[in-house]
């Protein structure tokens, strides 16, 4: 593709045809607070520009330099180098879903195998070719439950990832849905007793939830099924599936979660991988692409896109979803990652996450004034209550090249002094001990 910059005359002509005076006017619908400020780059020569960009780049601090205890939806896990190498091969390297089956067998087979892995991980009968991320997968699951049950009320946990909640509200804002948020208990679990008497299309629970706490999944599934609604199981930490029972075995009707933990680097908080799976009876209501196994004219095994007639390019406004694409490259990475880890390796990752997080939480809890906020069992994330708002500690840790955690007050005003701390298999014991030592030092300096 050639890149032809616009001339000022081109711009004028385009704007005139739109009946506009300026480029500014063209973007007037974008609220000013979410716009990027214009890059202030003066006219520079190429070597000057290179130097300038390099200097800007050096201001970034990355995970090669920092130790990070950030989680909350995006996780740092070990990624075998073969994932980069194989997914970067030219035959595979595309973000697109292939339309032309006869020239895309490799990519289609990879997606088919990805779907198989998702089915195995989640214990569900069918999986799609992936969605954009965990948040959009949850929102699509909510729409799907509405279309299956024909009901307008939808219950979700306040401990569902707050950004998933935002996307859910954005997706559904014009559908006249009755969204009911369930509070959490002292243990940090969703309060199922708070479910009001309504005809719910579904209950959405994240497990482990945003606070890292394990939810009463089987109980939740029973409660919503008794009311004739569907149970939607979400997750933001896919590594948990290495240790927890598959959601399909606990009664999940739809599983919608984030697969970034499966061989996809944290980057700047994305791209992620929307994992989506359901029961066979709901297959035709499932959004997104599905790759199926078929036979070609010579009777040989071949892979094709199936059930496309539900989709937007054929069904237009009546499609099951407006998503006609998938996150092919990230799904490929997840497939390669899972293949390399194998069942035992994947379980070992989950076990290390669990044990290291518990080692750290116990050591931190012994520091006077530092408490675990919730008593519910957790996987690899936990919420600490500090003697004051977290900024002081987090800045102190950052001076020591540590990203200590996520302050929760931004999403939960009642959790002013709380911080979410995440541990994965990438943290050696020394890093955990160093964090404990520094928190003690900071605590000692408080008077």
């Amino acid at each position: 593709m050639r890149y032809l910059p616009l001339t000022d005359a081109d711009r004028k002509e385009i704007l005139a045809s739109l009946g506009m005076e300026s480029v500014e006017e063209l973007f007037s619908d974008i609220p000013p607070e979410v716009r990027n400020p214009a890059l202030q780059i003066a006219s520079l020569s190429e070597p000057e520009l290179e130097k300038h960009i390099k200097e800007l780049g050096e201001k970034n601090r990355d995970l090669a330099e920092l130790q990070s205890f950030l989680g909350g939806g995006i996780y740092q896990h070990f990624i075998p180098h073969a994932v980069d190498h194989l997914s970067g091969r030219a035959e595979f390297y595309t973000a697109y879903t292939p339309y032309q089956a006869e020239v895309s067998q490799g990519t289609l087979q990879a997606i088919f195998e990805y779907q198989t892995m998702v089915s195995l991980l989640t214990g569900m009968e069918v999986a799609n070719a992936s969605m954009y991320d965990g948040a959009s997968a949850v929102a699509e699951a909510a729409l799907m439950a509405g279309s299956i049950t024909g009901r307008k009320a939808l219950a979700y946990s306040a401990a569902l990832h707050p950004q998933y909640q935002r996307v859910l509200r954005t997706y559904t804002q014009h559908l006249g849905l009755d969204l009911v948020e369930l509070p959490w208990t002292e243990k940090g679990q969703t309060d199922l007793d708070a479910l009001p008497e309504k005809e719910f299309s579904a209950l959405i629970l994240q497990n482990p939830n945003y606070f890292g706490v394990l939810e009463p999944v089987a109980e939740a599934s029973r409660v919503i099924h008794e009311r004739g609604g569907l149970f939607i199981y979400s997750f933001s930490e896919a590594a948990s599936l290495g240790l927890l029972p598959p959601p399909g075995s606990l009664g999940a009707d739809i599983v919608a979660g984030e697969g970034q933990s499966l061989g996809i680097p944290p980057s700047f908080g994305g791209p992620g991988l929307g994992i989506f799976a359901t029961r066979e009876q709901f297959m035709r209501r499932m959004p997104g692409r599905i790759i199926g196994e078929a036979q070609d004219a010579e009777g040989k095994r071949a892979f094709v896109m199936v059930l496309q007639t539900r989709e937007q390019h054929i069904r237009r406004e009546k499609a099951t979803s407006n998503i006609c694409s998938n996150q092919a490259l990230c799904a490929l990475r997840a497939l390669i990652y899972l293949s390399l880890m194998g069942e035992r390796g994947f379980r070992a990752v989950a076990e290390q996450c669990y044990h290291k997080a518990h080692y750290l939480s116990q050591a931190l809890e012994e520091i006077p004034g530092v408490k675990l906020r919730f008593r519910g069992e957790f996987f690899n994330e936990f919420v600490l209550t500090l003697p004051q708002e977290p900024e002081g500690l987090l800045n102190f840790l950052l001076k020591n090249s540590i990203l200590g955690g996520i302050p929760l007050k931004k999403y939960y005003p009642s959790l002013k002094q709380e911080v979410l701390v995440t541990v994965t298999e990438v943290h050696p014991k020394e890093d955990l001990d160093k964090l404990v030592y520094l928190v003690k030092e900071w605590r000692g300096g408080l008077k």
Partner: protein, 129 residues
């Protein structure tokens, strides 16, 4: 062009209705099935579904497309052809017989007067095909 049974009533959207008393058996016409191609799935409505004439009654999925089937009359769905869930090809093979889709309880018998006779439907077909 195969013969469209005289005892049936038709719509311009290619549904047929066999009206007996306050009940109507509903399906799609031979013209419809032949244009849809191989039918792979019939998404039948739930029993008891109340529907107005012209609203989407169900969806028929073929290898080429997925199409809405509209209610030829207002009423309530009182029976569905469950055999189609295992053998949707019956719609292709026998659109006026085994390929029937639902039986409705008719709400307003007057609406039946607006439906086409087989002759009217055939002359309508000759204008579009």
């Amino acid at each position: 062009m195969s013969v469209n049974p005289k005892e049936l009533k038709y719509t311009r959207e290619h549904e047929w209705a066999l009206i007996e008393g306050n009940r109507a058996k509903v399906g799609i016409t031979d013209f419809a099935q032949s244009h849809l191609g191989d039918i792979v799935y019939v998404d039948l409505p739930p029993l008891g579904k109340e529907i107005k004439k012209g609203e989407t009654l169900l969806v028929v999925e073929s290898v080429k497309t997925a199409s809405d089937v509209y209610a030829p009359l207002s009423g309530k769905v009182i029976e569905i052809n469950n055999a189609l869930s295992k053998a949707p090809e019956k719609v292709n093979r026998d659109p006026y017989g085994e390929g029937w889709m639902v039986i409705m309880e008719i709400k307003d018998p007057k609406e039946a007067e607006e439906l086409l006779s087989s002759e009217d439907y055939e002359s309508y077909l000759s204008t579009i095909s």
